[in-house]
Every structure is written in C-alpha cells, then in structure tokens.
Amino acid sequence: MDILVCIKQVPGSNKVKIDPVTGVLQRNGVDSKMNPYDLYALETGMRLKERYGGTVSVISMGPPQAKAVIYEAFAMGADKGALVSDRKFGGADVLATSYTLAQGIRKFGTFDLMICGLQTTDGDTAQVGPEIAEALHIPSVCNVRNILDVDDHAIVVDMDMPHDIERLRVSFPCLLTVQKDIFQPRLPSYLKKQATQKRDIRMFTMADMDDQDERRYGLSGSATQVQRIFPPESDKKQEMWQDTSSNALAGKMYDKIKELKFI
C-alpha cells in the first residue's frame, strides 16, 4: 500500500499582535514546527506500513524552509518527500492551497491512501483535507478515530460522529483525516535522522504542474480575500469585585447566582 501523508510547517506559537498605529502584524520570533495534528497522521501512515507493507511518502507546501518538517518526517520513518514551493503560490487560501497540493500530489505519484491531520494550528480550518480529496475526485472521511482493517481494495475505519460511531468501508484511493490520539506518535529517531539528512526531497514549482493556468494558484486562485485584520474587542458589561473579605466576595457571587435564578 502506498500512503501519502500531507504535512505542514506552522509557526511555533500563535502569539501575534497588531501594532495599533501602523496596523502591522507582529509575530514573536520565527520559530516553526510541524503542525502537531500531522504527527498523528504520520504515525497512522507508519503503523499501516508496518502492518501491511508499502511506502509512506510525505508532501508539504510552503517556502524552502518547510523542508525541515519533511526531514523530521524522514526521522520518524517516512520514505519519500516532496515540497510544493513557488512564490507564485503565495497568498493561497484553502481553495488555492488544496488545488496546488492536488496538482503536486499528481506529479509526485499514485497513492492508495492519503492521510491528513484533523486541522492545522495556524489556519485552524480543517478544510484543506476534504478540498484536496474533491480536487482529486476521491472519497474522503474526516474524524477517523480508529482503523480496523485493510484489504487490496479498501480500508475499514471508524468515523467519530457526535452521537455515534460509524464503521465505514472506503474504497481506494481515498483520503482520511485522523483524530488526535488515534495513535501515540513516535519520537524522531536519531539514527534515522543521521541516515536521511542528505536524502533528496522532490521540489515541485509552478513550472512542473500539469495545469499551467496561473489563475488557479496563489492569490489569484483564492476565492476568499482577507480585507482587514483587527484585534478582538469587547463591549460588555463588566464589574470588578475586590478589596474585601473572601466571605463578602462569596456572598456577592451567591447573590448574583440567585438573582440569575440558578439557585
């Protein structure tokens, strides 16, 4: 079974502020890491390979620095890696990102199973996985909490729904997004890291894509546009109770809760 895991490099933290005067987004530091949810996707890929044989490849989209997360995946046991990277892909929203990744996946190879993390910690939309599947015209199942069986044609998974668990048999090729905790991700291995630090990563730029219509990529291929960003505001009724005994504070809380009819 040939498995592809989609991974993303995300900022190490979400601590950002807007400079109130200039409106400039300020990010603290430029440290980055693999999207934590992708570790579960990668672990799922590795477990399936260990049990059923085959290969695990990883693909990412981003600047050349994003190679770092592909090497991290190698150190966890991934076999092959590709990076989709071009400044022409800049400013891509979910639609353009998914389309670009789908184009890159087609160039990279043919896969039976594609696995994504549930969401990223920076974009936080949980949409890229299903949109890739749509662009590739393959079935997708999100919120997979368990994998039960694999045969030549299909995979049997449990999809986590709010009130029940649906056991599904999904034909290959297909795309799954897996929940946190489906498997405990392994740590990168030092030996694997040593052995793979010079491994080639395939690079796909605009020039490599089958679809050369530049209107499908980057900002031009994005259906949504961010008009403005602004700090969250609050305009609600607020009171502070302080500088009194804890008994008095408890009393004020009691009065309020009673007034609101919870007692």
């Binding site: 981003g62 749509e134 079935p139 949504t224 009724k237 109770w241 302080q242 408890a250 009393g251």
Partner: protein
C-alpha cells in the same frame, strides 16, 4: 497572476523593509531584495514599506461572476435521523437577518431519509422555502452523495450564500462543496454581515483567536461559511408559517458512493460540557487533582458540569472532552464560573459568548477579567467553599429566604 514587484532603487533601508514582513518572506542577497515563497500576499510591505519599493500588480483580468444571477441565503439542515441540530435554527435566524438587508429569501436544504414530516418544523423558524431531498440512499452521511445533492441544489436554486453548521458533518461537507464550485469557504465565522452588493462579510478568529480577520468572497458564488453551534442566536419559534416545502427529485446514479456504512454504534450518552447550562471551569489555579471535587460539588449544586482549561487536561486531571477553548470545545452556557483561570485568548475564544461570566482569580491583572462580566479578585480556595456553604444553606431552607 497577481504579484509583487520590487523596485530596488526605491529602497533606502533594506533591513527596515525586511522587518515589515511578518512571515519573513522578504529576502536579501547581495543587496538585491526579492520576495520568497513564504509570501502570503498580505501586502503589508506595499502599505508600510518605503513608497513605491514594493508594488502590487493585480491580475490583468479577474473573472467576475454575475452576482444578480445568485439570490437567496441557504442554510444546510444538520440532523441525525431527522432530529434537527439546533445550530440549524441559529443559522436560519442569522440568514433571515442577512437576507432582509438585500431583500432576498431564506432557503433551507434538507437531505436524508424519511425526513419529509420533519421539514415543516423549519418553516416555523422563518425559512421561506425548504428544499427536501428524501432518499433511502441518503440515510447515512456519505460525503460523495451529500456533495452531489448539494451540487444539484446549488445548480437549481443558485443561492448567493450558504451557511453550514460547523458540526462533524458540516465541517467535511462544506469544503467538498466549495471545492466543487471553485468558490470560497470561511470556517468558524463568529460575525456575519451582508453588503448591498450581496457580498457576505465573514469575520473569524485567526492565529488562535489573537486576531480577527474580515474575509470576502468577492468574485465567486455561492459564498460558503461555517459557523459553530451557539455562536448565533436562535429565533423564536413562530406558530404561523408562510413558507413552502419543495420536494426535489434526484437521479439515484448521482448518489453512488465509494463509502459503505458497515455499522453504526451509538455512543454511550455522556453529559457533555457543550449542552450544560452551567459550567464551573478549573484553571491552573487549581493546585491538585483532588481539589476538582470542590468544583464538582459546586457544579452539582447548580445543576452544571465541570470543565477545564488546557493545562488541566494536559496534567491528566480531567478528560480532554471537558476542555474549553479553541483546541477543545466551544461552549455557550447561561452561567460560567471560572476558577483560577488566567484567560488565554485560546480559552476565551471558546467561552466568551456565555451569557454570564463570573471569574475568580487572585491576580487583578489576569486577562480573564477582560472577558468576565463579574471579576472576583480573591483566593478560590477561600471563596468557593464559602459559596458552596451559602448555596447549601439556601437549599436547606427550601430556597425561601436568606
């Protein structure tokens, strides 16, 4: 293709220009400045850089959709076996408000099996038309079949905007629909508004809630947005209805799927923090796991549930399902009492729509007090037991007086 062009001669201070980019995408090599693949096209360098140094060259031609051909605001009816998820009513309420601004109707899209008799209920909340796709093969959610129905509906009705609840189904269905129509989808909107030209103003938290982003889908239709449960307000159910039910046929071939449902197992019913009217939240101010019993006692007295912040879950003291915040659950109880919660933006984003927020924290500068309606500066280990005593005393007196 839209691009940024760097005019080297207009740059006086290269390092100042490099510092403007929040993504580190401006690169310098031998005194030459260029824009790299990390560029997100936010254009802050155009706006804030030296005048004329970085120029934004837009697309020569932007394909514009004829917006007058797309009318009405549609709501996807989220349901399990015909039991309609309340987020649906909240979205119909919001859709009515948006539709009124442009004088257009509100539609509901209802797909499933044996749902015909449930569809009338949607009319009581103000849907003008309910489009019903009632087919045996739609009994279970299968993404390919459901996307096909959505496609049929959009082609037939051409709604300008579609609101989908950010539920387990909505979050996997909406992206497939958006990608099929090559259109925009904005996840987890917290504010929606409508412009005269029918562009839907979508506001959502970005960067883990630290920043709000206002987003438009200006050149394509339909415009899709997902909204989490309990973000919008449900309208009152009206006795009188004026809308109509439209039964929609669909070719069975379109409902083919590569997914086969083998079995469905009901989960054990557990009390969830999502549906609780009262929540008592444990934060890092709780010193040890055993102290959660005190909060549980308070929760029991008020008919509520205990929830927590992320550190308490990470300490292994409480089930992850009880975590409030962006990486946990979004809650909107009638009353929430936070105990020793500092109030990170990620946490606050998951609870700031609660009706009444009482927050206990020792530190008067704690950021939770920015979210709280009533900020109580004090030691929770002194206040909570006394509060419990007062409530118990009240109950002992039959709640008559105190």
């Amino acid at each position: 293709m839209a691009k940024l062009v760097v005019h080297q001669d207009k740059i006086d201070d290269i390092s100042a220009l490099l510092a403007i980019c929040p993504f580190g995408a401006i690169e310098e090599k031998n005194g030459e400045v260029s824009i790299g693949a990390a560029c997100k096209m936010c254009r802050l360098c155009v706006k804030n850089g030296p005048k004329g140094a970085v120029e934004f060259v837009p697309d020569a031609e932007v394909a514009q959709v004829d917006k007058s051909q797309w009318k009405g605001i549609a709501v996807y009816v989220d349901h399990v076996d015909g039991i309609i998820h309340p987020v649906t009513y909240e979205l119909i309420g919001k859709a009515k408000e948006l539709a009124a601004k442009i004088g257009q109707p509100v539609y509901a899209l209802f797909m499933g099996s044996n749902i015909g008799d449930k569809s009338r209920e949607l009319l009581h909340y103000g849907a003008d038309k309910v489009f019903v796709y009632d087919k045996q093969s739609l009994e279970y959610f299968k993404v390919e079949a459901y996307t096909s129905v959505f496609e049929d509906f959009i082609n037939k009705v051409k709604p300008t905007a579609i609101l989908v609840g950010a539920t387990t189904v909505g979050r996997q269905l909406a992206p497939r629909v958006a990608a099929r129509f090559h259109t925009g989808l904005t996840a987890d909107c917290t504010i929606l508004d409508m412009q005269e030209n029918t562009d839907l103003v979508q506001i959502r938290p970005a960067f883990g809630g630290n920043i709000m982003a206002q987003i438009l889908t200006a050149n394509t239709r339909p415009q899709l947005a997902t909204v989490r449960y309990k973000v919008m307000n449900a309208p009152q159910r009206e006795e009188k209805t004026s809308g109509e039910i439209v039964d929609c046929p669909i070719d069975e071939v379109k409902l083919n799927s590569h997914v086969e449902v083998l079995q469905v197992t009901a989960k054990e019913k557990e009390k969830t923090i999502d549906s609780a009217e009262v929540l008592i939240v444990a934060g890092r101010g709780i010193k040890k796991q055993a102290d959660l019993a005190m909060l549980q006692e308070l929760a029991d007295l008020l008919g509520g549930e205990v929830a927590s912040t992320r550190p308490v879950v990470e300490a292994g003291w409480i089930d992850a399902k009880r975590q409030v915040g962006l990486s946990g659950r979004t809650v909107r109880p009638k009353l929430i009492i936070t105990c020793g919660v500092s109030g990170s933006v990620q946490f606050v984003a998951g609870m700031n729509h609660s009706d009444t927020i009482l927050s206990i924290n020792k530190d008067p500068k704690a950021s939770i007090f920015k979210a709280a309606n009533y900020g109580i500066v004090g030691d929770l280990y002194e206040i909570v037991p006394q509060l419990i005593d007062k409530i118990k005393a009240d109950k002992a007196l039959g709640g008559a007086s105190l």
